[in-house]
């Protein structure tokens, strides 16, 4: 996010001074991008709102541990990610709908060949950034994934974490993490392929 780091540092100072007025600035300036990060982990609005509140609370509590030499936004983003994952692991049975992954994975013949034709499609990078419909499709594809597949995928392909980091964060063995990311990517590819085929490309 392009936030003026100087403003971010001033905000940190005010939060360290326990200035109640700094709360407005914190929420006004950071709730939108933080909510964007959190909504990659859960689609459920009430869960996302609780995680947002909890994240902002953690930011206030941890403000004295923020190191001056780092930037504020990546630090906040990390808190949102860690907090979101922990929160969802604790509460997920409450709202999660389980989807069977199998029907979203590619189909093969007994000989191991594709059961249906595979078409190519290309997207102009420009279009990707301008096309909110496409972003919506991607978002829906990610949200379709069961929790245990969605989180590793988001951490890898959206947040850019390594397989090693994800495994340690989620307490998984590396091959398990990699398999889940792989299967999740297959589902995302399939959903986009459906989208482009319906669009007639």
């Amino acid at each position: 996010m392009k936030t003026k780091e100087a403003d971010g540092r001033q905000l940190v100072e005010r939060l360290r001074a326990r200035d109640p007025e700094a709360i407005d600035e914190l929420v006004d300036q950071y709730s939108k991008p933080l909510f964007g990060v959190i909504l990659n982990y859960t689609k459920n609005p009430s869960d996302a709102e609780e995680i947002l509140q909890d994240t902002l609370l953690k930011i206030i509590h941890k403000i004295d541990t923020f190191r001056e030499e780092s930037d504020v936004w990546p630090w906040m983003r990390r808190i949102a990610i860690n907090n979101g994952i922990m929160w969802l692991r604790k509460h997920r049975t409450r709202n999660e709908r389980t989807t069977s992954l199998d029907e979203l994975l590619p189909d093969f013949s007994r000989e191991g060949e594709f059961a249906v034709p595979v078409y190519g499609w290309t997207v102009d990078p420009e279009e990707v950034y301008l096309n909110s419909e496409l972003a919506g499709e991607l978002y829906e594809a990610v949200q379709l994934l069961p929790f245990e597949y969605r989180i590793p995928l988001v951490l890898k392909d959206i947040e850019g974490y390594s397989i090693k980091q994800i495994s340690s964060l989620l307490g998984l063995k590396e091959p398990t993490t990699k398999t889940r990311i792989h299967r999740a990517r297959l589902v995302v590819r399939q959903k986009l392929a459906d989208y482009f085929e319906n669009r007639g490309q």
Binding site: V27, F35, L57, F108, E113, L138
Partner: protein, 94 residues
Amino acid sequence: MKDFFKCQECVDLLTDYLEGSLDREVRARFEEHMSACAPCINFLKTFERSTQMLQLLREQQVEVPTDVQQRIKSFLRQEIIMLSAEKPSPRHNR
């Protein structure tokens, strides 16, 4: 004589291939199949593209409903006041 890889085996290896973690022999067999299989080439390209496109979700910003913002603000204000009473910041003792 080694078997020629099937499409299904290649699809299973795509993430390892993109991560660069296939050993030399497996990679050679993977590429051998890829060089001769149009559906697999399409699949690999679209797999790679859709994976890269996920970056699009990285910078998303989503408006928080005003009533939720207000609720969060008043909750956090209470919290910071309590925090200031029980545990003043080490650098800002007043």
